[in-house]
């Protein structure tokens, strides 16, 4: 299998950084240490013609158990349009220091995907040109896709509170600014 061959080659090249190779439903995943992630991506892009970055996302492993699984992982899915092979790379990131190298210099398109991962999971990307919140508001608290972040929290977004107050305050005026007589 071609994918496994690439994975093996990588293991030889980056001894110690490849934590494991998993095959599931015909798709090969390699677990890598985050320190060699950038170089592995570079090798995949140049040597193995994995020119297309399908997908980049973060995962919170809080409720998952497994060998080499750290708290967070960032999943990269690569595809080689010439060779028609795909490979998934998972970088393991510990909770204490959620930092990983950015691959924006390899794929400009990864820019927003990394921003999204930062926004929703709080994983920081080194050397990223503009690491800001993207989908949520700039003053959002917490990282919504983390497992401890409740689907329905006990408090509202604070901007909403302000809006509500304003709505209550302005309720006594009609559209033309005149006070409505309260019944």
């Amino acid at each position: 299998m071609e994918q496994l061959g690439i994975a093996e080659q990588l293991r030889e090249k980056f001894t110690g950084s490849i934590l494991g190779i998993i095959t599931h439903r015909g798709q090969v995943t390699i677990l890598v240490d985050r320190k060699d992630l950038f170089r592995i991506c570079q090798v995949l892009k140049t040597d193995h013609k994995m020119t297309h970055l399908n997908c980049l996302c973060g995962v919170d492993n809080l409720k998952r158990k497994g060998a080499h699984l750290e708290r967070f992982e960032v999943v990269y899915q690569f595809y080689s349009i010439d060779n028609r092979t795909s490979l998934r790379v998972k970088a393991q990131i510990p909770e204490s220091d959620p930092v990983v190298d950015s691959i924006t210099s390899l794929w400009t398109g990864a820019n927003w995907l990394e921003r999204e991962t930062y926004d929703l999971l709080g994983i920081v990307f080194n050397n990223h040109p503009k690491l800001e919140r993207i989908l949520t508001a700039e003053d959002w608290e917490g990282y919504p896709l983390r497992k401890e972040y409740a689907l329905r929290g006990d408090k509202e977004w604070k901007g909403l509170e302000e809006l509500r107050e304003k709505a209550v305050r302005l309720r006594k005026y009609d559209f033309y600014g005149a006070q409505i007589e309260q019944e």
Binding site: H24, R25, Q27, T29, T51, H52, L53, N54, C55, C57, V59, D60, K63, R64, V75, Q77, I81, R84, S86, R88, W107, T108, G109, A110, N111, W112, L113, E116, L120, R133, I134, L135, T136, A137, P144, L145, Y149, L151, Y176, G177
Partner: protein, 408 residues
């Protein structure tokens, strides 16, 4: 007559060397941003110096929601991703979940899926053409496109009961079979559609104004397109032959004859030509669907019930009498295997990928949606640099973005 007095002067701090720049916030309520996209522009006259798209106005947290719902319930969420081609999203989602849970899909259901995918591709491309032409000022094309799109949407309504939020697929098949009347109408549509494409092309294809507005605008080379992670017709317009229907065939696409149109120049006109050609190819696939529709059931034998347990399968209470269930769950199968999967499908906008992690429960542990629109809008800041405002509008149009899919 009233004057609004409640506004206050906002002082934008002027940085040094910044005095000649004109800041313009295009959107989020603007006729040409296709939804709630905001683009912050720095202008020098009409030339764009920097272009910074802002998204998130339509963020509904689908990825978080999906972690709390069963696989079957999440199909409903996928309707609301790319609401212009909901069928494609349904199919993409179900293909991914079926690969993850190893559910067999019968032949007829596969063919039906291809059929609705291509129908939604045509309807999405028609909407793209309509709005793209309107953006560039040709407003008659808009109405002509909607004429054909209406036929398709009414077919969707007849097929599954809704025009846009279709929820058509099921895990392991589809929801409703076609009727003869639907196929007759579709047959007539397929018959008439090439003439309609001719009509659109008469208006814009060789029109000198259209050519001036599209040729050389938003040009990306093949390397640049790959670097920006563009997919779909936006990538193929640059000459990269990457169509998931050919590269990683799903849902029986390998049985169909069709060509993947690729452009050469990678400009707006090339992408326009690619999509117009795709309309013809989709029409051709529809013709094949009508002719080759196999008989058989529309739901697989091991298709899970709509009421999927959120707990692991072996703990499922299977005391619901079998006759009460529409399709019974096969209890002894290890339905929800642990593992992860990335499955991409070719939706009208590009590559729609679903990345799933299953932890052995009846709901995804993590669902990531690789939405083409999100990445395409991300590419806007690169593509929109140094062009004029009118070109930016053309580029937004040619990237064919839907904000529902972008913000998720």
């Amino acid at each position: 007559m009233i004057t609004l007095t409640d506004t206050q002067t906002i002082d934008i701090p002027v940085q040094s060397g910044d005095e000649d720049r004109y800041h313009l916030k295009l959107g989020p309520q603007h006729p040409a941003t296709h939804g709630v996209l905001r683009v912050d522009l720095d202008l020098d006259g009409e030339t764009i110096l920097t272009c910074d798209p802002k998204v998130g106005y339509l963020h509904r947290g689908f990825e978080k929601l999906a972690e709390h719902r069963t696989y079957a319930q999440n199909i409903v969420l996928t309707d609301r991703l790319d609401y212009i081609a909901a069928m494609s999203n349904n199919v993409g989602y179900c293909e991914a979940v079926e690969r993850l849970l190893a559910i067999e899909v019968p032949e007829r259901a596969k063919m039906l899926r291809v059929m609705v995918c291509e129908m939604s591709r045509i309807s999405s491309h028609l909407l793209w053409l309509a709005t793209h032409a309107l953006d560039i000022g040709a407003m008659t094309v808009f109405l002509y496109c909607f004429r054909e799109r209406e036929v398709l949407l009414e077919l969707f309504a007849e097929l599954c009961g809704a025009r846009l939020t279709t929820t058509y697929t099921r895990l392991g098949g589809v929801r409703q079979d076609v009727t003869r009347s639907i196929m007759k109408k579709l047959d007539k549509f397929v018959e008439d559609f090439p003439a309609c494409i001719e009509e659109y092309e008469t208006l814009i294809d060789t029109n000198r104004i259209w050519l001036k507005r599209t040729i050389g605008v938003g040009q990306v080379s093949a390397e640049k397109a790959l670097d920006l992670c563009l997919t779909g017709a936006s990538l193929r317009g640059s000459g990269v032959d990457y169509d998931i229907r050919k590269h990683m065939p799903y849902s029986g696409y390998e049985k169909f004859e069709f060509d993947v149109p690729t452009g050469e120049t990678g400009d707006t006109y090339a992408r326009y030509r690619c999509r117009m050609e795709e309309l013809r190819q989709s029409n051709f696939i529809l013709r094949q669907c009508i002719e080759m529709m196999p008989p058989g059931p529309i739901l697989g034998k091991d298709a899970p019930d709509l009421i999927m347990p959120i707990k692991p399968a072996n703990k499922l209470e299977v005391d619901v009498p079998a006759k009460n269930a529409l399709i019974t769950l096969i209890e002894d199968r290890d339905v929800f295997m642990e593992g992860d999967i990335y499955v991409a499908t070719e939706v009208p906008k590009g590559e729609l990928g679903f990345y799933f992690i299953s932890d052995g429960m009846g709901r995804p542990y993590r669902m990531h949606i690789r939405s083409p629109s999100f990445i395409h809008i991300g590419a806007l800041s690169t593509m929109g640099q140094g062009v004029m405002i009118a070109d930016l509008i053309a580029i937004i149009g040619t990237l064919d973005v839907v904000l529902g899919e972008c913000d998720r």
